[in-house]
């Protein structure tokens, strides 16, 4: 994979093989050590590996024998090359390569370097591929299609439901969900995916939910139900085997961020693939998130943005997708709500609307656009319809509703509960939010 120069042409140093214990170490051990160095972004590491074998890169980095090269400096504003070299030297002096490698093996973390068998083949042609990926789970991507579902961390309840439903339905239709395991949309998509994989998505065995969800796309409120995927799956002549999720994260595989998603991390790693460009112990620093989004866009065949304000991490995913020619889809959101302005702008700019899993499957070419739509849900009675109009797309507290609607409070609560059971409204404590349009 790289040209192995044993002699440094510039300094005319005869390169000797590293110390006596080193020949037994595989390339991955040196790669792990290199990735653990500071000032080693993926692009620079890729540049170094294009020049020398991993063991030699390590040797050169540890004695400061890497010639300056515009391809390695990357930015004009980077620190002086000599400073980079001394950083490497200091760090390398503290790293015991074989000990480091044994910690990786003990932790059960896989290492896939660019060009090796474990490395995802779809990334080989990428304009900016990761130099290496650390992973847990099964690295092989298989033949399943891959769709990224991304969005803001501070999403509305409506979008959380949609992300969850998309994750559920696409997974059930045999599409792998790629996402970043962040709070909000990302996490919801994977929770939906796990629901589909778990076999019984409806955890509570809630009769009300299961009953109401048979008739709608977003029908089951906050909890996915087993039979809701049937609407999507019945139209597609593709495998019904649920596909495993793919999580791409910004920190090291042992640094769970956000902490709340610890169980989600473990489940994704167990059932699918959890990967990161960062070595173990890397904290989730800010710059790593756009880089993580780059990998998500590179792995996906379609990027679905569920909800995003004008500026946000999801928009960097969109930019990376556009660079790679990956189609971008956006879920239409209510007009005038800040958190959905970015996705609506994407639609104005020509992104394909994604209303449900069917739309995404059409984009993937897995189903025909003229397939019969799932049976429409019976609209609520007119009195409840008026109430539904009064409930906005942003969360409203019961106290506010009680003052806006000319109903007695107990009648109001009764109707709200009916609407919630029918899946038009989601509640969280005392807050109510509309989740579907009749």
């Amino acid at each position: 994979m790289s040209v192995h120069n044993s002699i440094d042409p510039m300094r005319n140093i005869v390169h000797r093989e590293p110390a006596s214990d080193s020949p037994r170490l595989p390339d991955e051990a040196w790669l792990v050590a290199l990735a653990s160095l500071p000032a080693m972004p993926p692009q620079r590491l890729r540049g170094l590996l294009a020049r020398w074998a991993p063991a030699e890169v390590w040797h050169r980095a540890s004695c400061g024998a890497v010639p300056e090269d515009p391809e390695l400096v990357l930015h004009k504003r980077s620190r002086p090359w000599s400073a980079t070299l001394s950083l490497w030297q200091q760090a390398a002096a503290r790293i015991d390569v074989s000990a480091l490698w044994s910690t990786y093996r003990a932790a059960g973390v896989g290492v896939a370097a660019y060009g090796t068998a474990a490395y995802p083949s779809v990334l080989l042609d990428d304009p900016d591929p990761p130099a290496m990926l650390f992973f847990r789970g099964t690295p092989a991507l298989g033949d399943e299609r891959r769709v990224a579902i991304v969005g803001t961390r501070r999403c509305s309840e409506r979008s959380r439901t949609i992300a969850r439903r998309l994750g559920h339905d696409l997974t059930a239709a045999g599409v792998r969900i790629v996402s970043g395991l962040a709070l909000g949309v990302d996490g919801a998509a994977h929770i939906g995916a796990l629901d589909a994989l778990g076999g019984n998505g409806s955890r509570a065995g809630d009769p009300g939910t299961a009953q109401s969800s048979t008739s709608g796309n977003f029908g089951a409120g906050l909890f996915g139900s087993p039979d809701t995927a049937s609407g999507a799956a019945s139209k597609c002549d593709i495998s019904r085997t649920p596909a495993a999720p793919i999580g791409v994260i910004a920190s090291g595989l042992d640094v769970v961020y956000p902490q709340r998603h610890r169980p989600l991390w473990h489940r994704v790693a167990e059932l699918g693939l959890l990967c990161s460009e960062a070595p173990l112990g890397t904290p989730p620093t800010r710059w790593r998130f756009p880089e993580r989004n780059r990998v998500i866009a590179a792995l996906a065949e379609v990027v679905v943005v569920v909800e995003s304000p004008h500026r946000g991490g999801s928009m960097t995913t969109v930019e990376h997708a556009l660079v790679r020619g990956v189609p971008v889809m956006a879920v239409p959101g209510p007009v005038g709500i800040a958190v959905a302005e970015g996705t609506n702008q994407l639609l104005v700019d020509g992104a394909t609307p994604a209303r449900d899993a069917d739309d995404v499957l059409v984009q993937l070419g897995l189903t025909r656009p003229d397939a019969p739509a799932s049976t429409p849900r019976r609209p609520p009675p007119s009195a409840e319809l008026q109430l539904l109009d009064a409930i906005g797309w942003i969360p409203t507290s019961l106290a506010e509703l009680a003052d806006q609607v000319p109903l007695s409070v107990d009648r109001l609560v009764d109707m709200l509960t009916d609407l919630e059971l029918a899946g038009w409204v989601a509640s969280r404590g005392d807050w109510f939010e509309r989740v579907a349009e009749p």
């Binding site: 501070r154 509305s156 309840e157 959380r160 709070l183 996490g187 919801a188 929770i191 796990l194 629901d195 778990g198 998505g201 955890r203 509570a204 065995g205 809630d206 009769p207 009300g208 906050l222 709340r260 998603h261 169980p263 989600l264 489940r267 709500i337 800040a338 958190v339 942003i394 969360p395 507290s397 019961l398 106290a399 506010e400 009680a402 003052d403 806006q404 409070v409 107990d410 009648r411 609560v413 009764d414 709200l416 509960t417 509640s427 969280r428 404590g429 005392d430 807050w431």
Partner: protein, 505 residues
């Protein structure tokens, strides 16, 4: 010679009868008080001496021993001053013993011979082992609250001695005219909008359910809480006397009639210390704010700002209706049966609305954690109070008045009384089945919620009590209907839901 004069001392809210024995004998002139007096009690010597001299009596140049029996009980405060002075005069032979017989004395002496009021007069007079109570004029109204026959107010030692010697009639101070009527209590009609909060207040007042109001600053939480007292029925005689005893022991100013008839409203600031809240801070084990709110409302504004320890100390009184305060010197039981009303912001920024809130999840979670779930569980009613609707604020129709709501509350409480409790919140769990039958669809609704795991068994009992109060207010006898059960479920909903979702196992 020996004189025995009845008096009393107070600990917590309970009075304890004390017999003041004064012995005057030949020997070196001296004065000694025995029988576990505290410092203020021991200092009686100097007050009594000056008061006697100011009143034209002489100080015996003999050996004086004062014993406060029973000598094992700690005597606190200056309530025995007058009894010591009278005992001294009788023992020294300056006053005949006959007119003093069967009289009990309460009061503190000033150096000029004036007789001053002491805290806890109600309990002191109650505890007196005598037929007639002699009390300071200033606390005569208070003293008459005590359940006993004759009370004679006196304002100076001179006056008292003249009356005892038969030189003058017992003073009969003309009743001071009652002060001009107090500012009318805030009325519920002033509140615009707030339909949900009004319902919650009404239910809280009728059923004695503790209420937590969560809302942004300026929504009107404090305004609403102040109007809750007006909805509560006037205290009946027994309770009024009980509350007056507590207030008297705490040294609170009593209303002109002496008897506290309106349910108290206490709103300690969030910087209040633990001791000021639960009581027992002074050597008299003075009752704290929770006891002063006995039979009334304890309002804790900005609940999230109270120190955790202070909030948690409320758990015993909320459960038991009293608080046991133990200090190094004594342990007393103080009554503390109150309706807890608390107000707080939904999160540090105050907005609460999930997409308008500027707090991070961590900040919200940390704010929420300030309330332990056992404490949160004590609140049967947890409602969000929204900022009032603009239309309502500018020229909306005034809401129902306090009087109209209070009438319904009285009716509801009467229905509760027929079940043998003051209010439904006190209904014991074993009687719930009997008093709160459910219609079929109400039972289905409860089953549905129970199966989602959002409701515990204890929660279920509380929901049934709440729904029963709603039925009482509506004047509809049980069985409880589905709308009532749903309403109860929502009034008990978590007002500060965590904004995360569970991960499938």
């Amino acid at each position: 010679m020996l004189a025995t004069i009845p008096s009393a001392t107070v600990l917590g809210v309970d009075g304890q009868s004390v017999t003041v024995e004064v012995h005057v004998s030949a020997g070196l002139p001296g004065f000694k008080i025995v029988g576990l007096p505290d410092t203020s009690c021991r200092e009686a010597r100097d007050r009594v001496r000056a008061a006697l001299l100011s009143s034209g009596s002489s100080w015996p140049q003999r050996r004086v021993t004062v014993n406060l029996a029973p000598s094992g009980v700690r005597k606190v405060g200056s309530a025995t001053d007058v009894a010591i002075a009278i005992g001294l005069l009788v023992a020294a032979g300056e006053l005949p013993p006959e007119p003093v017989a069967r009289l009990g004395f309460i009061g503190e002496l000033g150096l000029d011979g004036s007789i001053r009021a002491v805290p806890g007069t109600v309990s002191l007079v109650d505890a007196l082992d005598a037929d007639v109570a002699i009390v300071p004029t200033a606390s005569r109204a208070e003293a008459r609250v005590a359940a006993r026959g004759e009370v004679r107010p006196v304002s100076t030692l001179q006056e008292l001695l003249a009356a005892l010697r038969g030189e003058a009639p017992w003073p009969d101070p003309t009743e001071t005219p009652p002060p001009p009527a107090q500012a009318p209590a805030p009325d519920l009609a002033d509140v615009r909008g707030q339909a949900l909060a009004r319902v919650a207040l009404e239910i809280a007042a009728a059923g004695g359910h503790h209420l937590l109001m969560v809302g942004p600053p300026g929504a009107g939480k404090t305004m609403l809480a102040r109007r809750l007292v007006g909805l509560l029925p006037r205290l009946d005689d027994d309770r009024a006397r009980e509350v007056t005893r507590v207030w008297s022991a705490a040294g609170e100013r009593l209303p002109p009639g002496g008897l506290v008839v309106q349910p108290p409203f206490r709103a300690p600031h969030h910087t209040a210390s633990l001791v000021s809240l639960v009581g027992g801070g002074t050597s008299t084990m003075r009752p704290g704010e929770v006891s002063c709110a006995h039979c009334g409302v304890l309002f804790l504004d900005e609940l999230g700002e109270f120190p955790l320890q202070v909030i948690e100390s409320l758990r015993q009184p909320l459960e038991a209706g009293y608080i046991r305060v133990s200090r190094a010197l004594a342990s007393v039981v103080l009554p503390a049966q109150f309706l807890l009303v608390a107000a707080m912001n939904p999160c540090p920024c105050g907005e609460g609305q999930p997409q308008r809130c500027r707090c991070t999840r961590m900040e919200r979670a940390r704010y929420r954690r300030r309330l332990s779930s056992p404490l949160l569980d004590r609140f049967d009613l947890r409602v969000n109070v929204a900022r009032p609707d603009v239309d309502e604020l500018l020229g909306g129709t005034p809401g129902e008045s306090t009087a109209a709501v209070a009438a319904r509350v009285v009716d509801a409480r009467e229905r509760a009384a027929a079940r043998g409790v003051t209010c439904n919140a006190e209904l014991p769990g074993r009687e719930l089945e009997q008093h709160t039958p459910l219609t079929c669809d109400a039972a289905d609704e409860l089953e549905r919620v129970l199966r989602t795991g959002q409701l515990s068994a204890r929660g279920l009992a509380r929901i049934r009590r709440l729904a029963l109060t709603m039925a009482d207010l509506a004047g509809v006898p049980p069985p409880l209907t589905r709308p009532q059960v749903r309403m109860a479920l929502h009034l008990r909903a978590d007002p500060m839901p965590p904004l995360h979702e569970a991960v499938p196992a």
